[in-house]
């Protein structure tokens, strides 16, 4: 576990994309350029690619709004999908009104979602933010279950299991946008996502945003200075609700349907995973997580029925070994990339990769065979894995898998020591700079 804690020490800074004003504007400008070029990049310039990018944009806004709570204010919510979903429902009803003749362009629909998100954020937030910490987490879970159950009790507003549908093309056009193609939808989503990200980044730099950070780090001290922590939590909660509702509105435009699953505990859990895997201690972390998880979700679920299990394992690995998430790992490596020990580190990684791959192969074999047997027994015992045909009725595939797993694990533990040693060296070299300090976990 020594290596774990070595890896767990992230840089002390909490907001990415910092630096002086000009640098920040340049970063946003670069983001805007990338966002506008992306749908024309080969591989992404298909309808599928545009749809993938749209989903990533929605997830990114949602994950960023979640991080206003977890990363900035230290509030762990298990029911953030409530504001996403209720925003989505408001937006879809707004779209229906537009379908019936309300003269508003579809591109403004997310505003209805944001308004609903804010409204419900204020409504539920006034109760849930009375407490912080563990109790807050439990209450958010309870509110999530409450709203989810309520969607089935009021089918007139929520449409029950089937949900509510609307049509994004039957609406007044603005700037020639008729939403006929997924590309147009993507551009609208990307624009909103960029605006939302900029606003949320600006929020952190307001006095209120700074107070959020203060009550995350030391609520007692903030109270002594004279701030009411409950009020700060409440305001942060309302802001998070607003942006979650905006994401829900984008979801409504993208899918033209909002159903009960959009307020479900599963979606609340997904956004938590996205934000945490991406890294809650960095502003861009949740975006990294949203992109990674959306991509994994779409690509892996084609290959394996067990992808949720892999996702869970990935999440646990992040919690145990890299609590500042993928963004934290990136920043950590960026800090030592110029040191002489970096090459040694790369070599150590390369060596450790071999047993890691062996271990992973063993685990994947075991998981896939068990999943196949338990969820699709009708397909029989013969299966094809990693281009190799095998018969799971015989003990051999199982023995091989277990041997690979155990041997890989033992060898990995041995080689990982080299990585830890290389890290210590690189850390020592970079220590003069900004390495060390800060516990990194979002408390």
């Amino acid at each position: 576990m020594k290596t774990g804690s070595a890896l767990a020490a992230p840089p002390a800074t909490f907001t990415a994309a910092q630096g002086n004003g000009a640098g920040r504007y340049r970063a946003w400008l670069a983001t805007a350029v990338v966002l506008s070029v992306l749908p024309h990049v080969p591989g992404l310039n298909t309808d599928f690619g545009h749809s993938l990018l749209s989903q990533m944009g929605i997830a990114a806004v949602f994950a960023l709004s979640f991080n206003v709570l977890l990363g900035q204010t230290g509030l762990l919510s298990f029911g953030h999908a409530v504001y996403f979903g209720l925003g989505g429902y408001a937006a879809i009803h707004f779209m229906r009104a537009i379908n019936h003749g309300l003269p508003v362009p579809i591109a403004l629909v997310p505003l209805a979602g944001a308004a609903a998100g804010l409204l419900f954020g204020i409504l539920f937030g006034s109760v849930t933010t009375r407490r912080s910490g563990t109790i807050f987490a439990l209450i958010s879970l309870g509110v999530g279950e409450l709203v989810y159950a309520a969607t089935f009790m009021l089918p007139g507003y929520f449409g029950g299991e089937e949900g509510i549908t609307a049509n994004r093309t039957r609406a007044p056009e603005l700037f020639g946008l008729n939403f006929g193609s997924q590309l147009q939808v993507y551009y609208v989503i990307a624009s909103w996502a960029l605006v939302a990200a900029m606003l949320m980044h600006a929020f952190i730099r307001t006095p209120l945003g700074r107070m959020c950070n203060a009550i995350r780090d030391n609520p007692e001290r903030a109270e002594f200075i004279g701030y009411n922590t409950q009020h700060v939590r409440f305001f942060a909660f309302a802001v998070a609700g607003l942006f979650a509702g905006l994401a829900g509105g984008l979801h409504a435009i993208n899918y033209e349907i909002v159903a009960a699953d959009s307020v479900s505990a599963l979606r609340s859990g997904t956004v938590l995973l996205m934000a945490y895997i991406g890294g809650v201690t960095h502003f861009a972390g949740p975006v990294v997580g949203a992109i990674t998880l959306t991509w994994l979700q779409i690509s892996l679920s084609d290959y394996t029925a067990a992808w949720l299990l892999y996702l869970g394992l990935f999440f646990m690995a992040i919690i145990l070994f890299a609590p500042s998430g993928l963004a934290g790992l990136i920043v950590m490596h960026a800090a030592v990339v110029r040191t002489k020990a970096f090459r040694r580190l790369l070599a150590a990684y390369a060596i450790a990769l071999v047993p890691a791959a062996v271990m992973g192969t063993g685990a994947v074999l075991l998981i896939e065979m068990s999943y196949r047997l338990s969820t699709h027994p009708e397909l029989g015992a013969k299966m094809r894995l990693l281009w190799i045909a095998m018969d799971t009725a015989t003990p051999w595939p199982w023995i091989v898998a277990v041997v690979l797993l155990v041997a890989g694990f033992v060898a990995f533990r041995m080689t990982w020591r080299r990585v830890a040693a290389a890290w210590d060296r690189a850390g020592d070299e970079a220590r003069g700079g900004r390495f060390g300090g800060g516990d990194g976990s979002a408390r």
Partner: protein
């Protein structure tokens, strides 16, 4: 009316006792370690699956002992090899760790037993009516369930209040450092408490698996309600957990049996509400339909009236 009341009350008590079995372990773990174990309901589910599997191999009665033991071992392993390392990284990391664990256990259960419910049924030896109440027979397994819950509460209470180890646990609850300084193995106690709490969840699982469908969504079905009970009862209070579980169990069972809506109330009061009225759909919800949200409404209400819970003594 009397018949309905009596039967609902009895079923409510059974349900409440089962809830208590689940929450007692959770509360014990929380009050000692300050960790809210999100995977507690998942251990409960594992108990149900173990009892099904062991029951198939060696019969229900050995399973009643072995399944909780297996769950206890798993709980001990979770504490010793997982939580202890996450502990240093703060409370959020701890909750997230158990949350991830709950996620993993659900997937592992799917991997081992499939997505559909397994055919766990009431064992024949206790599948007979114990007595009849107004013509409704009360099955023996529910009687067994009540007996087990009550025995367990008595055991837990006595073990905590009357034994030496209980005394040390109580000391470690409030003053872990002091207890450690006096030479007691506090980390070892943590493992023990986690194991006992998980074993209790497993025991509840054996019984709950008979009552509810044993399927991978079982943990998600009971989990949120258990957390509500813990908050309503007051975090860390065993008696509070007992009162809250009985209350929620009985209220929810009664709610299921009530076939009225606000519309009926309005009719009695002489308030005219038609289909065209705003919120008509809301008024038309029958209490029975609203039963699943009763615990959560209670939670919100409790937070407004008394944020620390029924018998809670501290703000966590």
């Amino acid at each position: 009316m009397l018949e309905l009341t009596a039967v609902s009350l009895l079923n409510g008590v059974v349900y409440g006792l089962l809830l208590f079995m689940l929450t007692s372990g959770l509360t014990l773990i929380f009050s000692m370690m300050g960790v809210l174990n999100f995977a507690h309901a998942s251990v409960f589910m594992l108990g149900a699956y173990f009892s099904f599997q062991f029951g198939r191999w060696i019969g229900f009665w050995p399973a009643l002992v072995l399944a909780p033991l297996a769950c206890g071992l798993i709980g001990a392993a979770i504490e010793r090899y997982g939580l202890r390392h996450v502990h240093t990284k703060g409370h959020v990391a701890e909750i997230l760790f158990t949350f991830g664990l709950a996620y993993l256990i659900e997937e592992l259960v799917t991997m081992l037993w499939g997505r559909n419910a397994v055919a766990s049924s009431v064992p024949e030896s206790i599948d007979f009516p114990l007595f009849a109440l107004f013509g409704t027979s009360f099955p023996a397994y529910k009687g067994l369930m009540m007996a087990i819950s009550v025995t367990m509460f008595a055991f837990l209470f006595l073990a905590l209040k009357r034994t030496r180890i209980g005394l040390i646990i109580q000391a470690a609850l409030t003053h872990p450092q002091m207890a450690g300084a006096l030479g007691h193995d506090v980390p070892g106690l943590f493992v023990l408490v986690f194991a006992v709490g998980s074993a209790l969840a497993g025991l509840a699982g054996v019984i709950g698996g008979v009552m509810w469908l044993t399927q991978p969504t079982l943990a998600h079905f009971v989990g949120p309600i258990v957390f509500v009970v813990v908050v309503v009862g007051g975090l860390g209070s065993l008696s509070g957990a007992l009162i809250a579980s009985m209350f929620i169990g009985i209220v929810q069972t009664f709610a299921v049996a009530v076939d009225y809506s606000l519309l009926d109330l309005f009719r009695v009061l002489g308030i005219g509400v038609t289909r065209a009225s705003p919120l008509y759909e809301f008024y038309a919800i029958k209490v029975a339909t609203a039963a699943p949200i009763v615990p959560y409404l209670l939670l919100v209400l409790m937070l407004i009236v008394r944020p620390r819970g029924l018998l809670g003594t501290r703000d966590a």
